[in-house]
């Protein structure tokens, strides 16, 4: 009798633990999903500002203050890159390379370069010289590219070309 109630208690405890673990796992999965979605939307925002700046350059647009707004957008987004990639999420619809978390120093260097180039971009955008802006947008683009080369999956491996992508 006693043994069987101990059994029951143990079973109940185990079941509870199991439920808690599952809930925890589900919670974790959701945190992962959120981290993944967030860093991708950050990158899309950054892409949007780059697109706006290149349109200004391509077409010689003279929308007052626009270059500065987009440069500032890039610079402030750049500062979010570190936290956006803090959580290691390598499964699911992502093009992030595991190297981000395996070589944190190298990744941090890429982020620093990105921050430095976008900070310079803000200065250049303020003085309104399109040629200088063009050169600095190019330098900023290089900082995107050098991080992507090391830490983002190439096209032929991209989740976006797997059919089931988001």
């Amino acid at each position: 009798m006693r043994t069987s109630s101990i059994w029951k208690a143990a079973l109940a405890g185990a079941a509870l633990l199991h439920v808690a673990a599952t809930a925890h796992a589900q919670g974790e999965a959701k945190v992962d999903e959120g981290a993944l979605k967030y860093r991708q939307s950050l990158m899309e925002a950054v892409g949007g500002d780059m697109a706006a700046l290149t349109n200004i350059l391509k077409y010689g647009l003279t929308v007052p203050g626009a270059a500065q707004v987009h440069a500032e957008g890039l610079a402030s987004h750049a500062k979010l890159t570190t936290v956006a990639f803090e959580r290691k999420v390598t499964a699911g619809p992502t093009d992030a390379e595991p190297a981000i978390w395996e070589k944190p120093d190298e990744f941090a260097q890429s982020v620093q370069k990105f921050e430095a180039e976008t900070a310079k971009l803000v200065d250049v955008a303020k003085n309104g010289d399109l040629a200088a802006l063009g050169a600095q947008v190019k330098a900023t683009g290089k900082s995107c590219g050098s991080c992507h080369d090391s830490f983002r999956k190439p096209k032929e491996e991209s989740f976006k070309r797997k059919g089931g992508g988001s």
């Binding site: 892409g47 780059m50 290149t54 391509k58 683009g141 995107c144 080369d149 032929e156 070309r161």
Partner: protein
């Protein structure tokens, strides 16, 4: 004659002074900056010992006199469409210059070519020993664009899928290749709205070929970035516009390229915790 050749199929700036011909300096041509080899008539360090046949072969086929594949520090791509007479006139001109003794820079000192684009990939990308036939029914700029895209810049070598024999599938011209050089996926660049670059403006394409920056703000990667940075970015804007005109005239082909599955497996292995 040199002037004329400069103005025809390839306005290579060979008359950019005697010194660059001694090599080692970046040499500006319509299709990129080459760290030239010494092409002054110095017999030991230059091309002074070359026969006419050696010269034609180097210019046309990118082969050194000993038959080895020429590393692309020699602007042979620009000359492949030229006639023998024009090329020999160019040789005569080069041989009329003062010989300059200067060792060629060793390959490891030839960035950026030595980094990733191997000689063959570069040849594949930029060079094919065949002549271009203009279409008299089309405008001069279209023909220029078609010539540059097919005979010189070789967009199709990467962007056109191959048939089982490895030949370019002309029925899907520029419709993209899932397994381009070095296994890279080269997208559909026909003017198809959803699966190609139909939504890109002329300005977008010209800008992309100058800067590697796409209309959505994303950057280009891999071989495309390299061919832009080492080549297309140095091409005059008018020529890039001609290339864009040619691409806009192509039949739009619906072809959504997919990533290959092996690549996914590689990724998943790495993802294991």
């Amino acid at each position: 004659m040199l002037q004329a050749s400069g103005g025809c199929t390839c306005h290579t700036d060979v008359e950019g002074g005697g010194a660059p011909l001694a090599g080692g300096r970046p040499m500006q041509t319509p299709f990129g900056v080459w760290y030239t080899t010494n092409i002054t008539p110095d017999r030991e360090t230059g091309i002074g010992a070359w026969s006419d046949a050696d010269f034609l072969r180097a210019m046309r086929e990118g082969r050194a006199p000993d038959g080895s594949a020429y590393f692309p520090t020699f602007p042979y791509t620009s000359f492949t469409g030229m006639t023998d007479d024009d090329l020999l006139a160019l040789k005569a001109y080069l041989f009329s210059l003062p010989p300059e003794r200067k060792e060629n820079r060793p390959p490891d000192a030839w960035p950026p070519f030595s980094w990733r684009i191997s000689a063959w990939a570069w040849q594949l990308a930029f060079f094919r020993p065949e002549r271009f036939e203009p279409d008299p029914a089309k405008s001069a700029s279209w023909n220029r664009g078609a010539y540059l895209s097919t005979a010189v810049a070789h967009c199709g070598e990467c962007h056109t899928p191959r048939n089982l024999a490895g030949a370019l599938d002309r029925s899907r011209w520029m419709a993209g290749s899932e397994d381009g050089p070095e296994g890279e996926l080269a997208p559909n660049i026909t003017p198809h709205d959803d699966t190609g670059i139909g939504r890109w403006t002329t300005t977008d394409l010209v800008w992309f070929l100058q800067t590697a920056s796409k209309p959505d703000g994303d950057d280009s990667t891999g071989l495309m970035k390299e061919v832009i940075e080492e080549g297309y970015t140095h091409v005059p804007a008018a020529d890039l516009e001609a290339i864009a005109e040619y691409f806009e005239s192509l039949p739009p082909i619906e072809n959504q390229l997919m990533a290959d599955d092996d690549a996914e497996d590689d990724g998943e292995d790495e993802d294991a915790p």
